[in-house]
Symmetry: C2
Subunit: 405 residues, 2 copies
Amino acid sequence: MAVGPGTLPEFFPVPGIRLGIASAGIKKPGRKDLVVFELAPGSRVAGIFTRNQFCAAPVTLSRRHLSLASPRYLLINTGNANAGTGAQGMEDAIACCRALADQASISMEEVLPFSTGVIGEPLPVTKIVNALPQALEAVSGDRWAEAASGIMTTDTRPKGASRQVEVNGRTVTISGISKGAGMIRPNMATMLGFIATDALIAPDLLQSLASGLGEKSFNRITIDGDTSTNDACMLMASGQYGGPEITADSPDLAALRDALEQVYLELAHAIVRDGEGATKFVTIDVSGAASQQEALDVAYTVAHSPLVKTALYASDPNWGRILAAVGRAGVSGLDLNALEIYLGDVCLVRHGGRAEDYSEERGQAVMDREEITIAIDLKRGDVRETVWTCDFSHNYVTINAEYRT
Amino acid sequence: MAVGPGTLPEFFPVPGIRLGIASAGIKKPGRKDLVVFELAPGSRVAGIFTRNQFCAAPVTLSRRHLSLASPRYLLINTGNANAGTGAQGMEDAIACCRALADQASISMEEVLPFSTGVIGEPLPVTKIVNALPQALEAVSGDRWAEAASGIMTTDTRPKGASRQVEVNGRTVTISGISKGAGMIRPNMATMLGFIATDALIAPDLLQSLASGLGEKSFNRITIDGDTSTNDACMLMASGQYGGPEITADSPDLAALRDALEQVYLELAHAIVRDGEGATKFVTIDVSGAASQQEALDVAYTVAHSPLVKTALYASDPNWGRILAAVGRAGVSGLDLNALEIYLGDVCLVRHGGRAEDYSEERGQAVMDREEITIAIDLKRGDVRETVWTCDFSHNYVTINAEYRT
């Protein structure tokens, strides 16, 4: 049902980063539900977290620890989101971090916890703690594919990306995994991303990259407009690539940023492609905006419109619905007669109505494809933003309207 | 499929207001697709219109005429929305108004046009003009039920309300009809409301009532978040009730306002009950807000959340989805641990998680009903807002994902 082949790449191991997997039996016995990232000393980490105010204990704790220490471990569990668990949830998250810290002879603040899965149920701390030795004993640099599967909840397939790029005459490796497909009761299929590189990156630059790249990828995807309580996207840089520290002034920064951006985008897009019931991968490209805010308002209004999304499901080049969505996006003084809307390279709307040169055949050909681009040129500025989403199908409803048994 | 019985009331005729119906063959031959309201001289009219910037010619023209003259006729056609029709669309709307004005010996500005139906196709002016005599010849005060059917497009049933109230020792009558069920390609099932009364209401007060009552009813319903290009809700007051002019200081104003409010609410709710694929009528009541804006932000975020709406379809008391929607409503500094969420009178959420005294049985009993109230007390102020919506079902997708034949 997902869009596109979604094959995992061959992962390049990232020097300084090792992964471990375990079965803690958090929800399903025997399932790989615990993943650890082990970071060599000197590694730097930056990330972005959910903006949802209903925010799980692990998110609060990870944020806190990140501000206090350089992380040595990321501890990820599925099967339980430790969300909606109040004060007890915070204690439980702390207990897991402390247990790992004890086993690794580090301090608790050097562990970042991440949880995803059932909400409102207490984290099974004992099960997690008991599985830590298993997770830690066989850490290795080439367990990326297993980790990609290990962080899945409602995903139908694992998601990963891996590249190498020349920086300062040396090879830099970037590997990453992600998860997230929507929210299913009682699970919250949190959006998570973990990207690691052996580049040696100045701390401020690392945060700037994590924020900027995360913003333009993970924060530009939407399946149904809902954001989870546990979303996070972390960038880990071990610094072991063998070359000088990369700063904002480095000539090869552009090449590094481009490669990171490709990885971030692949991982973010993979989440959309695996969206619940998705049959279309849709790019909504808004250009000619007067500000970032209005570009995003337009893009998200179109991306969230149930009428546009059901039309996409129907492969229906319904310009009226797209224009109506643009018209209600709240852009002050928008001239509907000035803007243009394209489906792929076919002009659909011009002068406030269907383009005179539009042909049903050409428009239909675009909509029949699995990958569709809706391009909206507002013609009132030069700001551009892109958002990615999928369609609304019967399966979306089926998946999300589970009856209690 | 719609929610509740939806029976039309017995309509009270409104002195000074007569209705006419015709078949113009705009889209389907033989169908009643033209409705006129004839207003006695001295009648006053006020209304609210769509805020969608993609706004149809008739809306622009009605607004303009309303500012220039006291309307004598409302001219409503179905089968064609005259939207996305550019300059030609405006000429066509004018031509229809002019034709009616000629036949009634009045000026064009005294006619308010309203259109709903197919978009992007030229208004069949000749057909409409040719049907005007038929519409005008048998105008009568008791054709409300026919008119309710005459303005339908994608509605599955006609919608009306009618009441009487004592004002200044006299009987005031209020009758109204509405339409709107969502948007179907290529039609836009515009939301329209027409409420008439024989009360004699001071002009400023009339506008204030039309805006205020419209705001708290028609502007508080949402099926899928999409707003049409042709939405309008008009209040016509013939002034013929036999008593003194009602002003902001009249002692009986409260009774009149209450009666009008009941009619507005019935008509607006009827639209939600007939929402595409609706199986639930849902009241989302947000109280304890610090401002109207945040109350509405929370209410609409919950009302538009596909995950909440599919849970409603599944009769699933999914507190996590409701809380996640509240959490992303953008309310600055919201304390998730302070708020409370009720399903009917069953407390579902307290202290940031499922209420300790919540029982699955009681929650399920509420969700199994067709009429559901979700009450959210933000505990940070004293502002309250209510929004009404319906669920997302498989049928919603089916209706809106029509394949081209």
